[in-house]
């Protein structure tokens, strides 16, 4: 028996599949799930770029004038962003907001992409650990946490589920970010398909994030351009057609999968992530630290290369 709950947040649908256990009544399991959904909705209210009353909008408005104090969860999430920015040589960079807006991915009028690119740079983000504050050191710098928002919300939801005694569950946001708690009954892992011809992901208390350049697009010079931008060049990326990361937490998985998509190569660090990507030529490239969770046998991909 399982209970399914869902909510709309961050422009997508989040779903929780909670496996019942004999000691927990269904109403109790649902109540726990609702508490977890509330965490996701709260993360959306906090991190939305499109809500004026979000904490993120507050940071973007005020962060260049002075440091903005944030709650511990937001601060920890921003520190993960910092870690992945460093590990990816800047391929993952949440200060991409002005560039996204200028390229038309935020709706509204487009702007000067070159001018916007000059305002992109995580190096302008300074952390004040003593005051748990974030400072944007250059006016015009703005964060877009769309690449990690789903992971962050799911991490908080999973924390709530675990704290309340849920030992088996699968959570996802828009099917691209997944958190597995425990395993399904009588099975050794949650198995998540990455698509036809792709390996399966085997998850047990692990998180998966899948990024691809398709999805939201804009038309430029008669061409369709994807929404994942290289923050170093301002261009839409297309060298990798699918990037998947398995990590201990979903925030890290989300950030690392975006970095992988942009960079086209596994991160220098952190080492606890397992990565898989498919090049535009159709070749799979795989990097694992100790235990591999991508099941190539199950997929029989046409081309397989293991780094």
């Amino acid at each position: 028996m399982h209970t399914i709950l869902a909510t709309h947040a961050m422009g997508t649908r989040f779903e929780l599949v909670l496996v019942a256990n004999s000691s927990m009544p269904e109403a109790q399991l649902r109540a726990i799930g609702e508490e977890a959904l509330f965490e996701i909705e709260e993360a959306d209210r906090r991190l939305s770029l499109f809500r004026k009353d979000s904490l993120l909008s507050h940071i973007n408005r005020s962060g260049s004038a002075r440091g903005v104090r944030v709650d511990p969860d937001t601060y920890a999430m921003l520190k993960v962003c910092d870690e992945v920015w460093r590990a990816s040589d800047g391929a993952f960079d949440p200060t991409v907001a002005p560039l996204m807006a200028a390229r038309g991915f935020h709706g509204g009028e487009r702007g000067d992409a070159q001018e916007a690119l000059a305002r992109v740079g995580w190096r302008h983000v300074r952390f004040d650990d003593a005051h748990r504050a974030v400072h944007l050191e250059q006016p015009g710098v703005a964060l877009d946490l769309g690449a990690v928002g789903k992971g962050h919300g799911l991490d908080l939801a999973a924390r709530t589920l675990r704290e309340n005694g849920v030992t088996s569950a699968l959570l996802h946001g828009g099917t691209s970010t997944v958190v597995a708690i425990g395993t399904p009954p009588d099975e050794d892992a949650w198995r998540v398909s990455l698509g036809e011809g792709a390996p399966l992901a085997r998850l047990e208390d692990a998180c998966l994030s899948v990024s691809a350049p398709h999805g939201r697009t804009v038309r430029e010079d008669g061409e369709s351009r994807g929404h994942v931008l290289d923050p170093r060049t301002g261009r839409s990326v297309n060298a990798v057609t699918l990037a998947a990361v398995i990590a201990p937490n979903a925030t890290l998985a989300d950030a690392a999968s975006t970095a992988l998509l942009v960079r086209g190569a596994a991160l220098a660090a952190p080492t606890e992530v397992e990565t898989l990507h498919r090049t535009s030529a159709g070749a799979w490239r795989h990097s694992a630290h100790d235990s591999a969770c991508f099941d190539f046998e199950a997929a029989t991909p046409k081309t397989q290369e293991t780094a």
Binding site: A27, Q28, I32, H58, V68, R69
Partner: protein, 411 residues
């Protein structure tokens, strides 16, 4: 018309006089306080956590103490306030951290009285969530304590500190929609309203909202806030109430209604129709005031005015953002309008820059440090609670009940 003419015109209109009264700097950034504050929080549930989230924006505020009778919830919430010392009871908190200036009370409604009165007795300023209490006796006791103590006491009815609502109210008060003919309010949010508990012994206590003996139900927990908005807009309280509650969506053994309807009658025949349900989320939470020259829809972070064709035009409307609602076009009521008009960005100013709770918390902090007028006093909290308590009684007994001034009295 040149842009300069436009600005002159905008400044010259009656509606804009209300806009100019808003302080733009209050709307965007947490203001520095005249003095740093150390505060405690009693009640570490969802509302307590939301309060912590808003307090964390203020550099001058330290959450020094935190209290909840549920150990798991206390530990979970303590993570969000690392500087706070956790306590299992408010009495221990008040004894253990004596240097706090103010206490936020976010316990279950029927448990507001003890921490609110004890905090006042200990010389603390108090922000108490609304509804103020679940019985008239408790509400009256809190009012008496607040009168005796020379401290700030604010009830957490957030409409009164919401800049968009203040603006909307100024329009209503200045006759923009003319004579009020009817009102409607709703709260819809699909959820079971249960609080999880890993300890069966704690489940009943944590699920006080579903216990008809303790709870004011949806009418109290949500309606009281929405009714208070309309009391404040109209400067009137209802004179009668009828209500009914049913279990429509959550047939899980509960006794508390998941769907309620109420009719609140005002002097002169104006009616407020209210619906609250846990079975559907469509259109969420809003209040609506309909007048002979227009209607106002208030949705906490946003508000719109819908004008009748024969209503007088106010200049600023021409440049305001508009939103289509099926066949009707709403003019967005804009907080921060003067500043945005100066920047030529009037159309961009849609929605509040912070959640409504932020403004309630800000108002309280500034009342404490700078003697800013209290947004919602204990007496106003009592009146809002009294209306909700009477509505709840009407719901439980299936009666039409009067609401008169005797309910609002404190001996």
């Amino acid at each position: 018309m040149t842009s300069s003419d436009r600005r002159t015109f905008i400044k010259g209109t009656a509606g804009t006089a209300a806009l100019l009264a808003l302080q733009p700097e209050l709307l965007a950034e947490p203001p520095p306080l005249a003095a740093p504050l150390r505060v405690g929080l009693v009640g570490a549930g969802r509302q307590g956590r939301a309060i912590l989230g808003e307090l964390s924006k203020f550099e001058d505020v330290t959450v020094a103490a935190l209290c909840d009778t549920d150990a798991r919830r206390l530990a979970s919430t303590a993570r969000r306030a690392p500087e706070a010392k956790p306590f299992p009871a408010h009495t221990e908190m008040l004894d253990g951290v004596k240097d706090i200036d103010a206490v936020f009370v976010a316990t279950p409604t029927h448990l507001h009285k003890a921490p609110a009165i004890d905090a006042l007795s200990a010389g603390k300023h108090v922000y108490c969530e609304g509804p103020l209490a679940s019985t008239l006796e408790d509400a009256q006791a809190i009012v008496k304590a607040s009168r005796t103590a020379d401290k700030v006491f604010q009830t957490g009815h957030l409409g009164r500190s919401n800049p968009v609502y203040k603006l909307a109210r100024s329009f209503v008060r200045s006759g923009a929609i003319r004579d009020v003919i009817s009102m409607r309010a709703q709260y819809r949010n699909k959820n079971s309203w249960r609080t999880p508990s890993s300890d069966p012994a704690r489940e009943k206590a944590l699920n006080w909202k579903l216990d008809p003996a303790l709870s004011l139900g949806l009418i109290g927990e949500f309606g009281s806030h929405q009714f208070d908005v309309l009391h404040w807009f109209l400067r009137k309280y209802p004179t009668s109430v009828s209500a009914a509650g049913t279990i429509q969506a959550w047939k899980d053994g509960r006794e508390e209604a998941d769907t309620v309807h109420a009719e609140l009658g005002f002097e002169g025949g104006v009616n407020l129709a209210y619906e609250a349900t846990l079975g559907n989320s469509y259109e969420g939470e809003y209040e609506q005031i309909v007048g002979t020259m227009g209607a106002m829809k208030l949705a906490w972070t946003h508000a719109w005015m819908f004008k009748e064709a024969d209503a007088a035009t106010q200049g600023w409307e021409v440049y305001a953002n508009r939103q289509q609602f099926h066949n009707d076009e709403g003019i967005t009521l804009i907080a921060d309008a003067t500043k945005l008009a100066k920047q030529g960005k009037l159309k961009e100013g849609v929605g509040l820059p912070h959640p409504p709770l932020y403004y309630g918390v800000t108002n309280f902090l500034k009342s404490v440090t700078e003697s800013l007028p209290i947004a919602c006093s204990a007496e106003e909290g009592l009146r809002a609670a009294a209306v909700a308590i009477q509505a709840r009684k009407a719901q439980m007994n299936g009666e039409l009940l009067p609401i008169d001034d005797s309910l609002f009295k404190v001996d």
